[in-house]
């Protein structure tokens, strides 16, 4: 069998889900024998490749860059897993939605104008700093996803359970203890 191509992507999240992936610990060594990690924040590949078998996507969609990469990932991935509560529900990053329209401006105002002593300004440079989206959204609101892996973060055991089933060529099914939020 050809080695599975897996990828992990990080949108608007805290990296905790990625850290939980690293909490697979020595199972990572087993994985390294069976799959190719073709794209990830912990690797140096800069362009999301074509023909990825499984991608774990962490974080909510918070800004224009997130959205752009999300569409690219969807187009080039067979199985997309919404990875962690931020991806699944919006979770903590979506707390700014409570301010309704104009929330992006609101949060920028506090951080870069009120809490600054020198050159208070809302960062804005085309092509460098992406615009915040008016509403933070979970991944499946914008593209189709195959599976959900909730948790903040999903415990390493659950990630392992999913990976093992995928490696065995099964349709992954998580139930009972393996499904938890928070």
């Amino acid at each position: 069998m050809e080695r599975l191509k897996i990828a992990t992507v990080w949108l608007g999240g805290c990296a905790g889900c990625h850290m939980s992936f690293l909490d697979l610990d020595e199972f990572l060594i087993d994985l390294a024998g069976k799959v190719d990690l073709v794209y990830s924040p912990i690797a140096d590949v800069k362009e999301y490749p074509e023909g990825v078998d499984v991608c774990l996507i962490e974080g909510a969609v918070c800004n224009d860059d997130n959205l752009e990469i999300l569409h690219q990932v969807r187009a080039r991935t067979k199985v997309l897993v919404s990875f962690g509560d931020c991806a699944v529900t919006g979770n903590v990053p979506a707390m700014r939605n409570q301010f309704g329209l104009g929330n992006a401006d609101n949060v920028l105002q506090r951080a870069y104008i009120d809490n600054a002593q020198f050159n208070p300004v809302k960062p804005r440079q085309d092509g460098i700093v992406p615009l915040l989206r008016e509403r933070v959204q979970p991944v499946h609101e914008l593209v189709r996803v195959e599976y959900f892996l909730p948790g903040c973060p999903p415990p390493a055991d659950c990630i392992k359970a999913l990976m093992v089933q995928v490696l065995e060529g099964k349709t992954p099914k998580l139930e009972g203890r393996q499904l938890k939020f928070g």
Binding site: I29, Y39, A43, D44, E47, Y48, G59, V92, A111, N115
Partner: protein
């Protein structure tokens, strides 16, 4: 005609960033800028919530150092309640922080930075990662993975979860160290010490072959800041602030972190979501200072534990006054792992960690509270203003990575100046520039209370916006 080169994204750092390199007419590097491109807005959306929720919410700023946020936040809560927490709770918080120091530094060294100095700058990007290390040296990779795991296990033993434990609370902590947990940590310590020795050996070989990197990877004068004990001993969760300069002289000392605003200002850069704090008395940008392992070892007079103290002596010999090369952050990180292990070992003989007196109780006794702690990457401040019901009115967070922002910009420029000449952009040079950033182990989820991944895109751009040259790597 001046040009601009953009590296996008910077990889193997904990976050989403880009780098621009500005060229002058002669084709030399004029300047460089490090941009952080994510932002989530914690300082605003926490307002209105009870301060007691903050240790739970703010740790979601960062999954790499959630313990730092939850502890700084709980401390700010202690200040709002105006209580002294029970001694056992203080020790237990410290133990968790030490566990985090070990896991985070091991991650930085083995998983993120070692691919550069172990596999080499010119290794193909597809192999230059932790899986590449697994392929090249499985035993080393396993040791590194297990060292990180050890730190994570300590966090889980105390807080029931490796990431985002709901454990520290204003006034103390929720649970003590169990005998089972104590036995597990004790049994694992010898292996952790052994791995640290392997890492030191590897690092010392690296220093011999990387003289050039030590010279140019962020080697410049700046101030340094960190927490120290009253006698100048290394601190990680307590103590007061100390600033020193490059000659090693103390320029401000024993500052209560609650008064940070008298010493630290924050500046905004139009092209980044990462703010740049600076030492207020010197102004911007002259008040450039560094935080984190290198800074902590520069401001501390001793580590307070024997093995790490012996290493600290060797480390201090690398500078006249302060050690000024950011490449040596890696070395400082290893010394801090060693010190953390020694402190953890001491705690294993302390019966107080099993005490069941763990929480002080009180209402709202102060309308403002500041909590500070040394995160793996540097000093972290949480500053909360509440109303009489304890609902947050205002939140200011100063995170470790931001405080290194000015230094990271300077580092990138320094490295680029050495490697970029004319129109040719060698891939290995780009990786070196990125490594300059990796030295600081920046945690960008923290720094913008914000994060992703895109192709490495190098563009040379003329001032009028025309793209003169365009390269992709991946």
């Amino acid at each position: 005609m001046s040009k601009r080169i953009v590296i996008d994204p910077v990889t193997r750092i904990e976050g989403h960033a880009k780098i621009s390199i500005f060229m002058d007419d002669a084709g030399n590097v004029a300047d460089a800028e490090f941009h952080v491109v994510e932002f989530r807005g914690f300082e605003k959306f926490c307002e209105g919530r009870p301060y007691s929720e903050m240790p739970g919410i703010t740790q979601r700023i960062c999954g790499i150092c959630p313990v730092s946020h939850t502890l700084a936040s709980a401390k700010a809560g202690d200040a709002i309640m105006a209580v002294n927490i029970p001694p056992a709770a203080d020790k237990l918080r410290r133990l968790m922080n030490l566990g985090q120091m070990v896991q985070s530094h091991a991650l930085s060294f083995f998983h993120l930075s070692a691919p550069d100095f172990l596999l080499g700058w010119d290794t193909p990007p597809a192999r230059r990662n932790v899986f590449g290390i697994i392929a090249a040296n499985q035993e080393l990779a396993r040791a590194g993975i297990r060292l990180r795991q050890f730190g994570q296990e300590i966090i889980e033993i105390l807080g029931a979860k490796k990431i985002h434990p709901a454990w520290a609370v204003p006034g103390g902590v929720r649970s003590s160290l169990t005998e089972e947990g104590r036995a597990k940590i004790r049994a694992w310590l010898p292996e952790a010490f052994a791995t640290t020795k392997v890492a030191f050996d590897l690092w010392k070989k690296t220093m011999k072959t990387h003289g050039r990197e030590i010279q140019i990877f962020g080697n410049f004068q700046s101030l340094f800041m960190g927490l120290v004990a009253p006698d100048g001993t290394w601190e990680h969760h307590g103590g007061k602030l100390r600033f020193t300069d490059s000659s090693g002289s103390i320029i401000a000392d024993q500052i209560d972190p609650a008064n940070y605003q008298d010493y630290i200002g924050e500046s905004v850069q139009n092209s980044s979501y990462l703010k740049s704090p600076y030492y207020l008395p010197l102004g911007f940008p002259e008040g450039i200072y560094r935080v984190g392992p290198l800074a902590r070892l520069n401001v501390a007079e001793q580590m307070g534990v024997p093995k790490a103290d012996a290493e600290l002596k060797l480390f201090k010999k690398l500078g006249r006054g302060a050690v000024t090369s950011s490449f040596l952050y890696h070395y400082a990180r290893l010394i801090e792992i060693l010190a953390s292990l020694e402190y953890i070992e001491r705690y294993m003989d302390d019966p107080e960690l099993s005490s069941d007196y763990l929480r002080a109780d009180a209402g709202i006794n102060s309308l403002r509270g500041v909590g500070a702690s040394e995160a793996p990457r540097g000093t972290l401040f949480h500053d909360y203003t509440v109303d009489r019901d304890g609902l947050l009115q205002k939140v200011n967070l100063i995170v470790a990575t931001g405080q290194n922002n000015l230094a990271m910009n300077q580092t990138v420029a320094q490295i680029a100046r050495h490697y970029v000449h004319g129109n040719d952009i060698p891939e290995a040079m780009l990786n070196r520039v990125e490594h300059g950033i990796r030295c600081y182990d920046p945690c960008l989820s923290c720094s913008t209370h914000a994060v992703g991944q895109m192709p490495l895109h190098v563009q040379m751009i003329a001032p009028d916006g025309t793209v003169l040259d365009d390269k992709m790597r991946g």
